[in-house]
Amino acid sequence: MKNADLKRFAKQNKSEIGVFALLVILFVGTALASDIFLTYQNISSICSGLSYYGIIVAGAGIVMIMGGLDLSQMSAMAMGVVLGGQVLLTEIPGAPVYAILLQIAVGTVCGLINGLIISYVKIPPMITTIGTQYIYRAIAFIVVGSQSFWIDNKVYKTMGFGSFLGIPILLWIMLVTFIIVALIMRYTQFGQNVYAIGSNEQAAKLSGINIIKTKITAYTLSGSLAGLAGVLWMAQLSASKPSAGQGQEMLPLAAVVIGGVALTGGKGKHIGIMFGIMLLMLLANTMTLMHLNTYLQQLCQGLILIIAVVAGIKKDRRQLDI
């Protein structure tokens, strides 16, 4: 009996288990090959990078499970970073609280705009969010020019460099957020609707699901999470600049796909997405420790992405054959 349960679990979580196995192999391999890898300093540096990306991919995962796409997250985050930074610089009492709220609010509005365009004007998500990717980034640059600001604020510093129970606070924030998102996806009507739309939008509509509301909510959430990720980004780098996250727009997408989300939507879990981003972060660290340059790192990231997609397609084909 137990054996059968285990088999079913393995069958239903094939892609998640696959990525996890890769993750373990890479972790053990790097630990054996490098003396520095297992030092507290190195691990916590991986974790702080993982923190802000983890929140970004949580949002990217929602829209991609729905069969959508959000390529504007990094720009929305940058807009929040710039505006939040300006608030911190005023040094009014309570500035950090306002800054944090403002960053999340800016992301939320950016996401809401995406959602409105996609569901009402009916422009495909890829086009819409490429467009807003440019627009949000441009606004960030227009607000402050190309200046960077040094952020020297106690709250942000504690967030960025403090730890609780030996674990960096950044990582705590990410983990809690990520778990909440994963629970929403699994246990709420909204989450189930997202899966339904990703599986078959037409059937979902005819089954009475409010497509427009669900889509807008999903994109808005994705934006809010991008805003929150900006808070972590600023805390970690003690800086506010309009180029935050520039050039990294595709990385969340790669992590989500590697984590087992079908490109057409409907399939995939947040736990897999978490493994996906961990794998990419770990890979980057491993390669840095091995003194490989960034271009080689990108080459490997690209390869892993393609392999993940090919594996996914093969699986889908097998299903269609039945």
């Binding site: 079913r8 239903q12 246990y187 709420t188 009507q189 189930q192 609707n193 899966y195 339904a196 599986s199 078959n200 037409q202 059937a203 979902a204 509509k205 005819l206 089954s207 009475g208 699901i209 409010n210 409907g266 399939k267 299903q319 039945i322």
Partner: protein, 509 residues
């Protein structure tokens, strides 16, 4: 022209012969020993009800399907195991009802797809333009610029472009599937003229049609299929319209299995003056416990009408009223209809009814998920219990409720759809093709489920393209033709012949 010519054509050589063709799909014998011959220069009309096997036969001819048994001879030589591309190369060209044009490309590119004139590795646009004008002249479109986008053209013109494409490929046989369904009278005249010119030059045409006037206008011979069998073949001069209708209908249906007589309750659904740019001023009432069948040939508007009632498609004027007071204006969405007690089983089960890659459980509770939510959290145990119950009640054959519906058979998939809609406790149930692609045994089970619904007082609006099914289940039948109601028939007070007459247009006998 017909009498003398068709007599001479009897003497002519046979270009195509399909002998004893049989083809089965899971649960359905689509064709049973069907034979067809086609002479050089002849126009053969292939007629029959929905699902009689016309399209299957033509798909076999085109190479899209392979027959289970039987032989095909083309110009006296056997044709075996060929692809659609090979059929085209040999000279068999099919123009489907859903046109296969490439709307973004030019007229010239459409006509010469696959054999564009070339100079070395490059397309010779000058030559293409000249060739295209020649080809366009053949179908009376000589004054259109060859480099105009096909997407800009009218349907009739697109159809002529497809015919031109068949001409440049030197087709010996052109099959046309309902070519006049969307054409105006003048456009039809142009089409007839082209067909006559083509046959005068020795080409042969098979025309699939629902319009009997058309058969008498253009065809030399008519062949009738029913339930996948040959039922008759006549030279046009030897047959009357009545004879053809009789042949299409066949023997009277056995009505013993009909639903038991019931008393109907209150009015459950009222549709008044519903119109779109296609549907014309449709009104009807449906009572609790009653089954109302909408029947029409393909494209008559039955499917569209049910979608309008459900709110899946917008309509321009008219109202849809439920006793709860929900008035269906153009603002209604499927979600609101469900709340008001109207449930919908779509005709395309896989495309519109199910989340194929999700489990039986998720599909079962898809429309009623909010009943399983407490404090924003879905209760999986309640969900499982519910799905399990439906699996037992409907005797759905599935390994577990967590199995993806993908791997179930058509009948069992349909049971999952029924469970989904039943979970919403509908007062009105719209059924579109409830037994499409389902084997005979499962059909009977579905009929029982429908009967149970009626007993509970659910009002049912049924659309089925199978006439026997519609007659079997419906207490009342409303016929549609070209988006308008053409007749209303109460159980026991009509013959199959009456209905077929009404759906063809309901005019003169």
């Amino acid at each position: 022209m017909s009498i003398i010519e068709s007599e001479t054509k009897d003497m002519q050589e046979i270009i195509l012969e399909m002998k004893n063709i049989s083809k089965a799909f899971p649960g359905v014998q689509a064709l049973n020993n069907v034979s067809l011959t086609l002479g050089k220069g002849e126009v053969l009309a292939l007629i029959g009800e929905n699902g009689a096997g016309k399209s299957t036969l033509m798909k076999i001819l085109s190479g899209a399907y392979r027959q289970d048994s039987g032989e095909i001879f083309f110009k006296g030589e056997p044709l075996k195991d060929y692809s659609p591309a090979q059929a085209i190369a040999k000279g068999i060209s099919i123009i489907y009802q859903e046109l296969n044009d490439l709307p973004e490309l030019t007229i010239a590119s459409n006509i010469f797809t696959g054999n564009l004139p070339r100079k070395g590795p490059f397309i010779d646009y000058k030559q293409l333009k000249l060739d295209s004008i020649e080809a366009q002249k053949l179908v009376g479109l000589g004054d259109l610029h060859p480099f105009e986008r096909v997407g800009e053209l009218k349907v009739a013109q697109k159809q002529l472009i497809e015919i031109a494409r068949s001409f440049v490929r030197d087709a010996d046989i052109i099959v046309m599937d309902e070519p006049t369904a969307t054409l105006t009278n003048t456009e039809i005249d142009v089409l007839y003229k082209i067909i006559r010119e083509f046959t005068a030059k020795g080409g042969s045409v098979i025309i699939i049609t629902h319009k009997l006037e058309e058969v008498f206008e253009i065809a030399n011979r008519a062949m009738v299929l029913r339930d996948g069998c040959n039922v008759g073949e006549w030279a046009i001069k030897d047959v009357t319209k009545d004879q053809l209708v009789q042949a299409m209908v066949g023997r009277e249906l056995n009505r013993d299995n009909a639903l038991a007589p019931r008393d109907f309750g209150q009015v459950a659904l009222k549709v008044e003056n519903l119109s779109t740019d296609f549907l014309k001023d449709i009104s009807f009432e449906l009572r609790e416990g009653e089954v109302l069948g909408l029947y029409g040939l393909v494209g008559s508007g039955c499917d569209v009408l049910t979608r309008c009632v459900y709110g899946a498609e917008k309509f321009d004027t008219g109202t849809v009223t439920l006793p709860g007071g929900c008035v269906g204006l153009s603002k209604v969405t499927p979600g609101k209809s469900l709340e008001a007690g109207v449930a919908f089983v779509p005709s395309e089960r896989k495309m519109e009814g199910l989340l194929l890659d999700q489990s039986v459980r998720i599909n079962t509770t898809l429309s009623s998920i909010k009943d399983f939510v407490k404090n924003f959290v879905i209760s999986f145990s309640k969900e499982r219990e519910n799905a399990q119950q439906w699996v037992e009640t409907l005797a759905t054959k599935t390994p577990t409720i967590e199995t993806e519906v993908n791997s179930l058979s058509g009948g069992n998939q349909q049971k999952v759809v029924f469970a989904k809609v039943m979970n919403t406790n509908p007062k009105v149930l719209i059924l579109n093709e409830p037994t499409r692609g389902i084997d005979v045994g499962a059909k009977a089970e579905i009929y029982h489920i429908i009967e149970d619904f009626c007993k509970k007082g659910v009002a049912i609006l049924l659309v089925s393209s199978e006439m026997p099914e519609t007659m079997l289940l419906s207490d009342r039948i409303i016929t549609l033709c070209d988006g308008a109601v053409t007749g209303e028939f109460v159980r026991g007070q009509y013959t199959q012949y009456d209905i077929l007459h009404a759906v063809i247009g309901g005019d003169e006998k």
